[in-house]
């Protein structure tokens, strides 16, 4: 099939071609076709495979953490300790492993799972197809952005395995802890590799962002005005702005910290530091809070990089399965832009306990609280999108409903954390852990699942099993809540984050049964993910074959073959309709694809 369509493109491409409509021949050798490919669809699949593999790695780290918290320093069940902690005495978690696992779990999930999956995989796959382009504006840059992310992944694994110990200063890696090997064994080579990895992954992110922006601005098909773009493209556009503007600050922070570690500078090290009786001569004149400002100036917008694309995916999927337009298209786009804009002026709310001037804290608090307004506009519009629909309960739709409801919980718990005095108590407790996971797992990951089930037929030409999709969804959804809802209770009870053994605290004793409860659900949640992997594998081989538009959707990607040919569209489509024209009164079909001929013509 592929060779046929390739030949097709080759023959007719130049005949039809005019201006930007030029079709290049597809690469013919294995290396340029599947490895060093410049095809956005191949790169997207590469990002997906990397992201999903890392999802399992990050999940394994989480399970090891959960076991340790529920049963501190007890051997893993089923003799697993002898495999995982083979060299440790007693085959239980060595004390230096806990901070390393905490650090690796956060780092892997943020930088190597959610960002690559949402922007790398879905962003790459969907942007050109949805705007009616043949590829990204800069295909080579696109390839580079993937091939810079790969060494970043290798570096982070090397950091984890580094001989003196993996990085153990948290995904936030605050100096001086992260700067001084004397303070933590992981802060030597492990932390250096971590910083190099983050630098590379940031570089990849910036290249991706520039490419997406250029593509969306310049390569839209005729008639694809900004207000006819699907909301996923809006979301990815806004996310790319965040990536391009915020990531350089993270790059700067990691370079400065690398200088402190390798070149003897002291950007972040004040005078008089003494670690375990050893004075640090290099230290002087620096300020550890500078790093926190730089880090959060990136990482708060990064939280929106993690969730905005998922909002976009969900806003694309919901109309398909409610058979009606998204409610309040413009309000949806503007509210995403507002969330992103506000995201730049709220970073200080991560630092309320660092001795901040109360008036500065108040301004950060107000800015943070304002985010509740565009967020509630989005929630209201998603509900409005259900109202009056004809709702089809497919697996992607269930994942979207989970996204919406979980995002509400994550958003609402954020309100407390924004309030300065309340945050004095909740900062660095499990309340924050619950909050971030409701947004990033309940939101982003369910958004990713929705996107996976929804676009799998487009990518592969086959549908995933609905039955196993629903099994996976319900197991994940119930166990997700079983894991993260009780973390609110732990937070209210005053349980600190990142502690290897809660049982030594008397005030946490009444909460320990919750820790066991959470761990049980975490195991279910972890193992449920094998269902989706099996579903992907089996569906690739034996899934029901589908045509161009199995979901009866309206956006442009559903007008080309599944899988789309190398050049996406033989003829660049002309767009005549808004993105979600479902159930238009007086029409025979209940959907109008964007490139259908104009109605009045």
């Amino acid at each position: 099939m592929e060779s046929a369509s390739n030949g097709h493109g080759h023959e007719h491409g130049h005949e039809h071609g005019h201006g930007g409509d030029h079709i290049h021949p597809p690469p013919s050798n294995f290396l340029t076709k599947y490895v060093f490919s410049t095809d956005h669809k191949v790169i997207a699949v590469q990002f997906f495979c990397m992201g999903f593999t890392m999802f399992l790695v990050g999940g394994l780290f989480a399970l090891l953490l959960r076991w340790q918290i529920a049963y501190p320093f007890q051997p893993l069940p089923f003799g697993l300790g002898e495999v995982i902690y083979a060299s440790a005495p007693g085959h239980t978690m060595p004390p230096e492993s806990y901070p390393t696992l905490v650090t690796m779990h956060g780092t892997v999930m943020v930088f190597f799972v959610i960002i690559p999956l949402l922007t790398g995989a879905f962003g790459n796959y969907l942007i050109p197809l949805k705007i009616g382009a043949r590829d990204m504006a800069f295909p080579l840059l696109n390839m580079l952005s993937y091939w810079v992310a790969v060494p970043a992944g290798v570096l982070i694994i090397m950091a984890f395995l580094s001989e003196a110990g993996g990085p153990g200063a948290g995904w936030t890696s605050y100096p001086p802890l992260s700067a001084l090997p004397q303070a933590s064994p992981g802060s030597g080579a492990g932390q250096t590799l971590w910083l190099l990895s983050i630098f590379c992954v940031g570089w990849s992110s910036i290249m991706g962002g520039i490419n997406y922006l250029t593509t969306i601005i310049n390569l839209r098909a005729p008639g694809m005005s900004l207000t006819r773009m699907p909301l996923s493209v809006w979301a990815l556009f806004i996310t790319s702005v965040l990536q391009v503007l915020a990531t350089p600050v993270l790059a700067a922070a990691s370079i400065l910290l690398l200088f402190d570690k390798l070149l003897g500078t002291s950007f972040f090290l004040p005078a008089g530091i003494n670690v375990g009786g050893q004075a640090i001569a290099q230290a002087g004149g620096g300020n550890p809070l500078l790093f926190q400002h730089l880090f959060w100036f990136y990482s708060h917008p990064a939280v929106y990089i993690l969730v905005l694309p998922a909002m976009g995916l969900v806003s694309d999927i919901i109309p398909t399965f409610t058979r009606k337009p998204i409610f309040g298209y413009k309000a949806m786009a503007y509210s995403m832009a507002a969330i992103a804009g506000l995201g730049f002026i709220v970073w200080g709310h991560h630092m309320f306990q660092a001795g901040m001037n109360p008036y500065v804290a108040t301004s950060f608090m107000v800015a943070t609280m304002v985010i509740a307004t565009p967020s509630s506009v989005k929630v209201f519009n998603w509900l409005g999108s259900l109202y009056g629909g004809s709702i089809r309960f497919t697996t992607p739709m269930l994942c979207c409903l989970a996204f919406v409801s979980m995002f509400i919980i994550g958003g609402l718990s954020g309100v407390f954390l924004a309030a300065t005095p309340v945050d004095i108590f909740f900062h660095d407790t499990y309340y924050v852990v619950a909050h971030i996971h409701y947004v990033v797992f309940g939101g982003s990951v369910f958004g990713i699942f929705a996107g996976l089930y929804y676009w799998f037929p487009k990518v592969t030409g086959r549908k995933m099993s609905e039955f196993w999709g629903k099994v996976h969804f319900w197991l994940s959804f119930v166990s997700f809540n079983g894991v993260f809802f009780p973390m609110h209770i732990l937070g209210i009870g005053g349980m600190m984050r990142r502690i290897a053994d809660p049982t030594i605290y008397q005030h946490l004793a009444p909460l320990q049964s919750w820790n066991v409860y959470i761990t049980m659900f975490a195991v279910v949640l972890g193992f449920s993910q094998f269902i989706v992997i099996a579903n992907i594998a089996v569906s690739l081989l034996r899934g029901e074959r589908v045509g161009e538009n199995p979901w009866e959707a309206t956006t442009l990607e559903w007008t080309t073959a599944s899988p789309p040919p190398y050049y996406n569209y033989l003829q660049i489509p002309t767009v005549h309709h808004p993105p979600y024209e479902f159930s238009v009164p007086g029409m025979e079909s209940d959907y109008i694809v964007q490139s259908a001929p104009p109605r009045s013509a």
Binding site: P95, E96, Y98, P99, V102, G170, Y174, L177, L180, A183, P185, I273, V275, G286, P288, L289, P325, G328, A331, Q353, P358, T362, V370, A372, T373, V377, F380, L386, G389, S390, I391, F393, S405, I408, L412, F416, A419, T420, P421, V422, I424, F425, H427, D428, F485, P486, I489, I492, G493, G494, M496, R497, R498, I499, I504, Q506, S583, V584, P585, D590
Partner: protein, 274 residues
């Protein structure tokens, strides 16, 4: 077809049960550590008020969602309505909801929080009855220093403890925090407070305890391998017991004092700052 009906009904209501059940669980299991401070109730009240309000909002959202999922499920003879949601009345509804969230939840919380942060929690007490304590964070212990009878720090009559904080009931306690090595964060769950100790900087924290007893303190900021073990005792005494305790410590302190031991004399001149 009726089985499909039933299926979507079941789906919709299980979604509601799972979420509603979770919500009830948290409301029923809501148990913060006992509050023994004069001002801690402000945090609990702001939390309680907001919890009640957002629970109402969330319940409404869940109800509307459940209603829509059942009422508008795909079934024979039912088709979707073409609603774009950009009519003036739709925008008005959207705006009204957003405004109600902002005015009911946010503004109330902002008003109390701005006051409580700048006038209560981060407005540090002055006056003669203030008990001053210097705190030094170090991997993986908290050190506390009391000025002793001369009211000056870093002198022979200082009382120094490790992983043990004694404070008298009923008096404002003012602490200055520094760190010797990395960032730590002093966490006193029972007075609802937490304050980072940062190398190269000095931070402050104050509270007034109301109930004598034996409580706990911890480090809330990841500070290295022993972070989880950086706990300490937090004891609130009757004022007379506190004086007695200081007096008892003083004898040891004077015997052990060595003016040349710089690392033992880690205290600093107390400078009031607000």
């Amino acid at each position: 077809m009726s089985s499909e009906n039933r299926q979507s009904n079941v789906l919709a209501w299980s979604l509601l049960v799972v979420l509603g059940g979770g919500l009830l669980t948290v409301l029923l299991s809501y148990s913060p550590p006992v509050d023994i401070s004069v001002e801690g109730h402000r945090i609990d009240e702001a939390f309680g008020y907001t919890t009640r309000l957002i629970t109402i909002y969330f319940a409404i959202v869940l109800f509307v969602m459940g209603y829509c999922l059942v009422r508008f499920r795909a079934r024979p003879g039912h088709s979707a309505e073409y609603i774009e949601g950009n009519q003036p009345r739709h925008l008005l509804m959207t705006g009204a909801l957003a405004a109600s969230v902002f005015m009911l939840i946010d503004m109330r919380l902002i008003a109390t929080s701005a006051h409580d942060a700048s006038e209560i929690f981060w407005k540090f007490p002055t006056g003669k009855d203030v008990v001053k304590i210097q705190v030094l964070g170090q991997q993986f212990e908290w050190h506390f220093r009391y000025a002793g009878p001369d009211a000056k720090f870093n002198t022979a009559d200082d009382v120094e403890t490790t992983a043990l904080l004694h404070v008298p009931k009923g008096k404002p306690i003012l602490m200055q925090l520094r760190s010797k090595d990395v960032i730590h964060s002093l966490f006193l769950p029972n007075v609802r407070l937490k304050q980072d100790a940062i190398p190269g900087r000095q931070t402050q924290l104050w509270f007034q305890a109301t109930a004598p007893g034996d409580y706990e303190l911890a480090c809330a900021e990841l500070c290295g391998l022993g972070h989880y073990k950086m706990r300490g005792q937090f004891i609130v005494d009757e004022p007379a017991d506190f004086e007695a305790w200081i007096a008892a410590q003083l004898k040891d302190a004077e015997e052990e004092y060595d003016a040349d031991d710089k690392s033992a004399n880690w205290g600093w001149d107390w400078e009031a700052r607000n």
